[in-house]
Amino acid sequence: MIYLMCLILFSIGIYCILVKRNLIKIIIGIGIVEYAVNLFFILLGYRAGGRAPILDEKQVVQNMVDPLPQALILTAIVIGLAVTVLIVSIAVRIYEKYGTFDITKIRRLRG
């Protein structure tokens, strides 16, 4: 059930990228898609009745959720940050050159 919600979030992101005309809204759409995939990956690691995977010296080792997706998603979040930073600086430069954020007017390359 909860994986279906992740898929709905993913589709909302793809809708933003395909339909919206403002450059900044497309960038927000890319962010939503990346976060939906990250959320899906973390939810896969859930074990019923588990607790946070942090060791402490006074506690007995018990049922934990899977820690491997959490480490991987840290890396994926950093990658998403890098892409966002790069594409925002490209968008700022495009505004400087073309004077508009509207993607239907930025069409010098044909074909």
Binding site: F41, T75, L86, I90, L109
Partner: protein
Amino acid sequence: MNMALLPLTPNLLPLFVAIPLGSAFIVSLLGKKLRGFSDTFSNLATFSLFCFSLLSLLLIKRLGTVVYKVGGWIPPIGICMVLDSLTSFMLITVNLIAFLVTIYSISYMERYTDKWKFYTLFLLMLAGMNGVIVTGDLFNLFVFLEIGSISSYALVAYGVEHEELEASFKYTVMGSIASSFILLGIALLYSYTSSLNMADISRTLAQGKGSQVVFFVSVLFLMGFGLKAALVPFHAWLPDAHPSAPAPISAMLSGVLIKALGVYALARIFFNVLGMTAISSSILMVLGIISMVLGGLLALGQEDIKRLFAYSSISQIGYVVFAIGMGTPLGILAGLFHLFNHAAFKSLLFLNSGSIEYATGTRDLRKMGGLTSKMPVTGYSSLVGSMSISGIPPLSGFWSKLLIILAAIEAKHFIFASIAILVSILTLAYYLKVQKLAFFGELRDSLRGIKEVPLTMKLSMIALSIICIFGGLLLIPGVQKNFLSLATEVLMNGNNYAQIILGSIK
């Protein structure tokens, strides 16, 4: 610690990733203060990488397949780096082209400001490509894929003009959607097999029956890696991105990036990890044929020389994917050989277009003519490159295209073989158009003052044309047995990959 024997021990493997990463940041630190430092240091780095990739061939001969445990942790708990024959074949291709392109860009990049920024991004892209080729773990492949892709998004927008920014924006949006699909595929595969090591997943999948999850995952990977490899219908970013980049970057993008990130990853995952089925094979073949035809037809009407070369890349990658998708030993051998040849001649053609732009300042075919009289090196190497890509004997392109057509006939796909022959004639047609309009004919008055390009640019072009001429020698039985056939065997092994890797861990 035996430092004297360092080149021929398994410790060679991490150096392929560590050397470009370290050089990128050292150039970023010291490049703006010392003049000429960034040039010499990056050329030294790519030259040493090329020598190490040649040494990797000797290493395989001595030790067999090498599995290197990073940090001493045993896979599948830790990450491992794998060196087998397909890896060393790709390493030689990538590092050779990177070295020649770095020599070319010593003179070409004088027109742009801040050369050290260029070299930093270039070395980071090279580190990403080497990392994808050498790794044995799925998530590590995703991380290096992203490093290479993000550097290439920045490099396409390098000279900040109108068209370059627009092309880079389009490329970034499409590339990041593809990476999200790949991450989704990795997540589903992890939930099904609970491991991220490629050998371990291969072993688990070989024991179970083919289920729906595996089919869905293979479709996701096809969409993601297919966009990086510019297969039709995911090709729309390539004709905008490749012409807008500076010429050495176009050579790297078209020559090695779409192969290392796209075709190699696709082949490795479909053959060794997921297992090749009849459905995947026919999908790859059909997509390859459509790419061949569409790329060729769209290239006929172009007037911008670099845009024509970009559409031609789509067509030739269609040849490679079609041949690899056949799944027979002769098919895979032909596909890998055509991959190596295409890296050589497409980089040569893009470097030629760069020198035309350096000398005349234009990329429009209608404004050129008769350039061979003033620029002989560019003219003759362009002639060699065009004849080789069209498949004229005895240059290297003829042998690889012949092998592809023979493999198609042997596997009884007669319609596909005849389509391949027709597209080859189409390729010859548009390359003859380029040669006639640009190099032969009358020299225009506006172009009378042009001179030949500087020495370093000439050196790279001559070296690449020598590779084009003598590339057919790779098919001599003695040489072929050691280089291409071993790479073919790795892919034909399919799921036995798991036994080889897990058995070599010491």
